[in-house]
């Protein structure tokens, strides 16, 4: 029966080509717009550390001296709190991170000095965030303690400076210090660069910078503080630091601590530990608002910072509204089309076709429009993503259709046209045969 209905549908659609083209185009542009924007939202709001993100947490304490605590503790930590918590080693893994601008030169290669960013991180950073290595490895806790002059570089920097070869053992100069390369990363593109996300609520929705590339150079935490002293930027300060760029023991927050907690019991333990630490510091008179300590999970933290840029979300809303207009359009046109065939339907009903049969036939026709519209919509989605990729935005290179969104596009096209066809088909199947036959 389906084959026959399909044949009828094709014949009916070919009878009025303009109307058919209108319906197909309407579905296609609606789907194209909706799926382009939804794909971008999907890519930007996805879990950057799938399978592990629920075990990663971002402890925070509130060292601000204001009389009344703010609603949330500051997004970063002061040196004393961050280093105390890190040294306590109460989590399965803990990583201190801070980034800063560096001047980088490579001895005896003749490449001119370049300015780039460096991440100072403690040893757990690499295993905790599953950072992939092409050559060599990260550093040990011992290296952290010894302030070892070692570095890991990004695959991009390795390509640029060493043509992509194994550069382990080579030396870099960061400002006035020499560091030995001990590891080279594989291409690594966390989106967003979640371990550095902070301050989203002050960004007025302009958060696309979170989707930029990672740092080029990674060094042990204390090594970084030592060799790039004077070049660190505060997140915020409650009074002006004495030496700009040197923030150890300054009245500033500028560090982030990430901890990995593998079981719910450990999470609960760590929360107690964090509250206890804040209370103890309050008793010592170092911090004022001990109750304002928090520990959001990674995804919760990304959500709190509103990492998906406001414009991207706005575009998705607009596209969905546009799709709705397109659907209304298709429903109206299909209804007109089906009811126009009242005579034909009346004859079929009089000859014994059930309502179900008429309904199925009309739905097949609507579905066919959906399939054609969906294929065209898919092409438009690919074109839309190509446009996004050509934009000068940080996440441009990420805008690609993955398998899930490919399937979703198709499912959406069919669902949309069936939804559009359902009502007109129902109306058509309700045609009273006698009335129609009389007018023939």
């Amino acid at each position: 029966m389906f084959g026959y209905y399909l044949q009828l549908a094709v014949r009916s659609l070919r009878r009025n080509k303009v109307l058919t083209a209108l319906m197909v185009l309407s579905i296609a542009v609606g789907i194209g717009a909706a799926m382009t924007t939804l794909t971008v939202v999907h890519l930007l709001s996805g879990d950057p550390l799938p399978g592990k993100s629920q075990r990663i947490f971002h402890p925070q304490v509130d060292p601000m001296p204001d009389e009344n605590p703010k609603e949330y503790p500051p997004d970063m930590m002061d040196y004393t709190s961050a280093v105390d918590l890190w040294k306590a080693k109460r989590a399965d893994r803990q990583a201190l991170v801070v980034d800063s601008g560096i001047k980088l030169t490579v001895p005896d290669t003749g490449t001119p000095a370049l300015m780039t960013t460096m991440l100072s991180a403690s040893a757990d950073f690499f295993p905790m965030f599953d950072v992939p290595f092409a050559f060599g490895s990260g550093w040990s806790e011992q290296d952290d303690a010894n302030r070892a002059r070692v570095a890991v570089i990004s695959s991009e920097l390795n390509d640029r400076l060493f043509g992509g070869g194994n550069s382990v053992g080579r030396t870099l100069r960061i400002r006035d210090a020499s560091v030995r390369i001990i590891g080279v990363l594989k291409p690594w593109r966390p989106s967003p660069v979640y371990y550095m996300v902070a301050g989203g609520r002050f960004a007025s929705g302009d958060t696309s910078a979170y989707y930029d590339r990672t740092e080029d150079v990674f060094v042990p935490f204390f090594t970084g503080l030592e060799i790039n002293d004077g070049h660190f930027a505060q997140f915020t300060c409650w009074s002006v630091p004495e030496t700009p760029g040197h923030l150890q023991n300054s009245p500033c927050v500028w560090l982030q601590l990430w901890v990995q907690l593998d079981t719910p019991a450990k999470v609960a333990d760590y929360r107690r530990f964090l509250a206890g630490y804040a209370a103890q510091q309050k008793a010592m008179g170092r911090i004022r608002h001990a109750g304002n300590a928090r520990m959001p999970g990674l995804m919760e933290w990304l959500d709190f910072n509103g990492v998906v840029p406001r414009d991207v979300k706005l575009q998705a809303w607009l596209a969905m509204a546009f799709l709705a207009v397109c659907l209304f359009n298709t429903i109206g046109l299909l209804l007109a089309k089906f009811l126009r065939r009242g005579g034909e339907i009346g004859v079929r009903r009089a000859l014994g076709a059930t309502r179900g049969a008429i309904f199925a036939q009309c739905l097949v026709e609507a579905g066919l429009i959906g399939v054609v519209g969906g294929v065209l919509g898919l092409l438009l989605t690919l074109a839309g993503l190509w446009v996004v990729r050509s934009q000068p935005i940080e996440y441009a290179d990420l805008a690609r259709l993955d398998a899930a969104m490919f399937a979703a596009t198709f499912a959406m096209a069919i669902a949309a046209s069936l939804a559009a066809g359902l009502f007109p088909a129902l109306r058509a199947s309700r045609v009273v045969p006698a009335m129609q036959l009389k007018t023939l």
């Binding site: 717009a33 002050f202 007025s204 209304f328 046109l333 209804l335 007109a336 109306r427």
Partner: protein, 405 residues
Amino acid sequence: MDVKPILSALARHRIAAVLISLEIALACAVLCNAFFLVSNRLDMMRIDSGIDEASLATVSLSGCDGCEAADVNGRVLAALRTIPGVRAAGVANAVPFGQRAGDAGVTLDAEGQRFGGVPHFYAFAPGAIEALGLRPARGRAFAPGDFQHAENFLPKDSQVWITQALADHLWPGEEAIGREFWVSDYHFRVAGVLAHFARPNPGRSQNGAAGAEWSVVVPVSADSLLGTYVLRADPVDLPRVAKAAREAVIRTVPEAVFDERWSRPLPELRQDFFRQDRSMAWLLGGVIASMLLVTALGIVGLASFWVAQRTKQIGIRRALGATRGDILRYYQVENFLLATAGIALGMLLAYGGNLLLMKQFELARLPLGYLPAGAVLLWILGQCAVLGPALRAAAIPPVVATRSA
């Protein structure tokens, strides 16, 4: 024209009529909000930076470790000033549409209890103020003694200029000149008020569009700053001068890293800064155009269908004495009624959509003026779309009445 027969005819096609009205309503809602979003973007992009951008360029260098500010500035400025066409040059910490250098929260009392907001602190040496052409609208110009040396961040106690926008925010309705504010133990006294002067990231700071012009200009001595230079030239010469400046700085300070990204004429920096807003405005424009097109096509499709369906009735009406004009007007009035119903609902939806946007995206309230504008646009669109099918209907000859269907 009697609308009663039109209404009873529509009542027989209730569902199709409701559908087309709903489509118009939805289009009206999206249109009003999209227009509002576009106009917000365009307003932001037109912001008055308070300086003559067309004749300004900046050069920037970084990574000058261990450099002596006085020495480097001396060399750079000497090199810049010898470029033919350069009218003025000076050292600054930042420029509008460039890199931010000093956002800091201010308080209106020395104890730090009354928070005033987060303006951007520009630090300018005398040469930079001359190059930027900044002149206070009220209050006094800086005296040579106002340009103090700053060890760290800014001088401890300075006479400053602030913008009118910041003055209105800090002391609404009051005279700002002579007033004081603090950043922890740094003290500032307002010596002059600038009509306009944008912060480096207008519209993208914590306070959004409201804080776009919250700027403080602090006079400092040239040896307090390093790395960002601003120069003025005739707009015609600017591209050539900017290129020459780039080469001069690279040649003069080989020990530093020249910052390509931030060393450009100001019109280019502005262009770059608003690139995303521009593409968003284009995108919104595209959505508006597509939406209008789809709605128009929907109206054409449905009207054509109705005309085809009623061919015989139209013939009968014509045979009974109705003129072509009567038939034409019938479809025009019908469309007007459908559009009116859609627009009425659309206004409510537009308002609801705006509430949603306000909640989700911290947008401003939709000015009421957008609603009638959207309504008129959709009425015109409906009339244009229906004209073709209506003319075809009017062309149906009375003789059709005598034929069997």
